[in-house]
């Protein structure tokens, strides 16, 4: 494989991690289970360990040694799994990568970021998303006719079946997509009753809504037991597909969309991890008062991390942030006071403003007093505020 030609999607889960890679030169997509040597790669111990730590220490303030150890193990396993596939220099061979996980938590975000760090992959070509977002990317990379309306997913995990609906809103520009989790049904032991149970579940899930396409995932589903159900799914010309490795493929498509070519600039996915607020400030730039965007709504919370420096001029020791919802034009102002800020001559207070998210609805703002060089050294003060919502 030649230099930085690979686009990679990885479905990172406990026991059956999958990889999907796309070679740009050959335009060839390959999906395979991840292996370390001849054995299937397993992240079970790592995910179990992280969950255990999260139960004991939800704020993530203690147990840093164990956490670091788990992150190191994950990085090592990933390196070896990639090596097995011939990727001995991920930083040199991968042009873009997305890892997808079932659910994003702060710990999982740190875990994946640590893996990327260990692989030498930086933020502008290494991404992270949950399964729902992978479903979205997988869908939009199919023929457009398949997603003219809503799209449904029936996900079989053992005897549990979960319904997921991808809803499309064409009233907005760009067109927005959301994922809505529906009912989960546990199929009874009696296999003969599965078709009826699934038939009822389809009826309850699709109701009167218009779905242009349905994807079925998971090894439990078989045509042999699902005759009535399939007929119902295919009613009214709906397209129905049974797919494997959807999450890894979706992750790979996401990396392509982000790194290689923005094929769908008119589409925007609004997942649960998406930041819904625009945050900015009125700043003076080259003598003119201008709206300066800090966080733009539509990015995932774990990718929203920005900082800038400013000189504060005036007697009021406060910063004014302008907030607006992504679907509203009205702005509100949040005032962050900077108590006990040093009194200095006008224009000699330089501040660093750092914004990052702890979850999609919890933005942290940190402001550092940088002082003014040797003329007015920094007090070392740091102010911290949380912006909820």
């Amino acid at each position: 494989m030649s230099e930085r030609q690979l686009i990679v999607g990885i479905d990172l889960n406990r026991s059956q991690p999958q990889i999907c890679y796309y070679e740009r030169e050959k335009e060839n997509t390959v999906t395979a289970p991840m292996k370390v040597g001849n054995d299937a790669a397993s992240f079970r111990e790592i995910f179990d360990g992280i969950e255990e730590l999260d139960r004991r220490d939800p704020e993530g303030e203690a147990d840093n040694t164990r956490r670091s150890e788990l992150e190191r193990m994950a990085g090592e396993t990933m390196k070896r799994a990639l090596y097995t596939l011939g990727l001995d220099d991920p930083a040199g061979q991968i042009a873009g990568i997305t890892i997808t996980v079932p659910v994003l938590t702060r710990s999982v975000v740190h875990l994946v970021q640590s893996i990327y760090h260990q692989l030498g992959l930086s933020g502008n070509r290494a991404f992270l998303q949950d399964y729902k977002e992978s479903c979205y990317y997988h869908t939009i990379y199919q023929d457009r006719d398949l997603w003219t309306r809503n799209v449904g997913f029936f996900i079989f995990e053992g005897q549990d079946v979960t319904f997921l609906a991808m809803n499309k809103n064409t009233q907005t520009r760009p067109v927005t997509f959301t994922m809505q989790e529906g009912i989960t049904v546990t199929l009874k032991q009696d296999r003969d009753s599965w078709d009826e149970q699934f038939y009822n579940m389809i009826n309850a899930s699709l109701r009167q809504n218009v779905f242009s396409c349905i994807f079925l995932m998971g090894s439990t589903f078989e045509r042999s037991w699902a005759g009535r159900s399939i007929a119902l799914l295919c009613r009214a010309g709906r397209k129905v597909f049974v797919v494997d490795n959807l999450y890894a493929r979706g992750a790979c498509y996401a990396a392509r969309e982000r790194v290689v070519q923005r094929k769908f600039p008119d589409c925007l996915y609004l997942g649960e991890d998406v930041v819904r607020n625009n945050i900015g400030m009125k700043m003076t730039i080259q003598g003119k008062e201008t709206y300066y965007p800090l966080i733009t709504a539509g990015v995932n919370w774990y990718e929203a991390d920005t900082s800038c420096e400013c000189i504060l001029i005036g007697k009021e020791h406060a910063l004014h942030f302008l907030l607006s919802r992504m679907d509203e034009s009205r702005q509100s102002v949040s005032v962050m006071q900077l108590p006990e800020m040093d009194e200095r001559p006008e224009g000699t207070s330089r501040l660093r403003i750092h914004l990052f998210y702890e979850s999609a609805k919890r933005c942290v703002i940190e402001v550092d007093d940088l002082g003014f060089g040797e003329l007015y050294p920094s007090s070392g003060k740091v102010w911290r505020e949380i912006l909820e919502g």
Partner: protein
């Protein structure tokens, strides 16, 4: 965090810093100061115009702007100004202010007038302002060097008694800050002769007292023909003034004084 939906009167303005602070500073030798950003440079120049002659804007500053600030636009402007060679200081200060969006200038018209007035200052007056600015940064030895330069100029008589007296007074006070009381007395005597001001005479007598005690004070008061009532009052004040009572470790205080001395004299 407080929320509201409208503007607030009297709120501060945040000015975006578009150019990063540098890892390596620009060193202003005259006052032993390191500068790390375009804003610091701009603020320094606007407040210390007297310290910024044409020579300030040399290759080393231009190199720092290019290599550390990475501001190629300003480098090109500086190159042009230096090539033209006309009113270098004015144009450089103007260019640096423009680069920061004039954040440190509220009244452009007043600023331009001040720059114009500065440009037309006679050389000795400019040198005096420079020396006074150095005193402000406690660079006493360098300030004295500049005061001496002024007093060695050929057309000193043409500058007027007021100007010469002020130079001697400021030099005398600077000597006093270095605890060189004999030199301080000599300068302040000359200042008093030129200015005929009570404050100068008072400075002179105080320096004499600190230099040689009551006897020196009395001798100088005779020489200056100080009013007897004033002379007695001043002497009483000097006698009653207490030496500072250092709290804590005397060795560390002396250490601080030594450091101050090095900083102030540049030795």
């Amino acid at each position: 965090m407080a929320r509201d939906s409208g503007g607030v009167t009297g709120m501060s303005i945040a000015v975006l810093c578009q150019i990063k602070r540098t890892d390596h500073p620009f060193y202003i030798r005259d006052i032993d100061l390191n500068i790390y950003s375009i804003e610091e440079l701009c603020w320094f120049l606007n407040h210390n115009l007297a310290l910024a002659g044409d020579a300030f804007f040399d290759d080393s500053l231009q190199g720092w702007v290019g290599e550390e600030l990475k501001d190629q636009h300003l480098v090109r402007t500086m190159e042009n100004i230096r090539r033209e060679g006309d009113r270098i200081t004015d144009k450089m200060v103007h260019a640096i202010n423009a680069e920061t969006g004039w954040i440190y200038v509220q009244d452009r018209e007043a600023f331009e007038k001040a720059m114009e007035a500065n440009h037309h200052l006679p050389a000795p007056e400019r040198l005096r302002r420079r020396a006074d600015a150095l005193v402000g940064y406690r660079k006493y030895a360098r300030a004295i060097e500049d005061y001496r330069k002024i007093l060695s100029l050929d057309d000193l008589e043409g500058l007027g008694a007021q100007f010469i007296g002020t130079v001697y007074n400021n030099m005398g006070v600077t000597y006093a800050r270095l605890f060189q009381m004999d030199e301080a007395v000599e300068c302040l005597k000359k200042a008093s002769e030129n200015l005929h001001a009570d404050q100068t005479e008072q400075n002179c007598l105080c320096a004499a007292y600190l230099s040689g005690g009551e006897k020196s004070f009395e001798n100088l008061a005779d020489e200056l023909k100080t009013d007897p009532e004033r002379r007695n009052r001043l002497l009483e004040e000097m006698k009653n003034s207490k030496a500072p009572d250092p709290e804590g470790d005397i060795d560390s205080l002396l250490g601080e004084w030594v450091q101050d001395y090095h900083r102030e004299t540049g030795l």
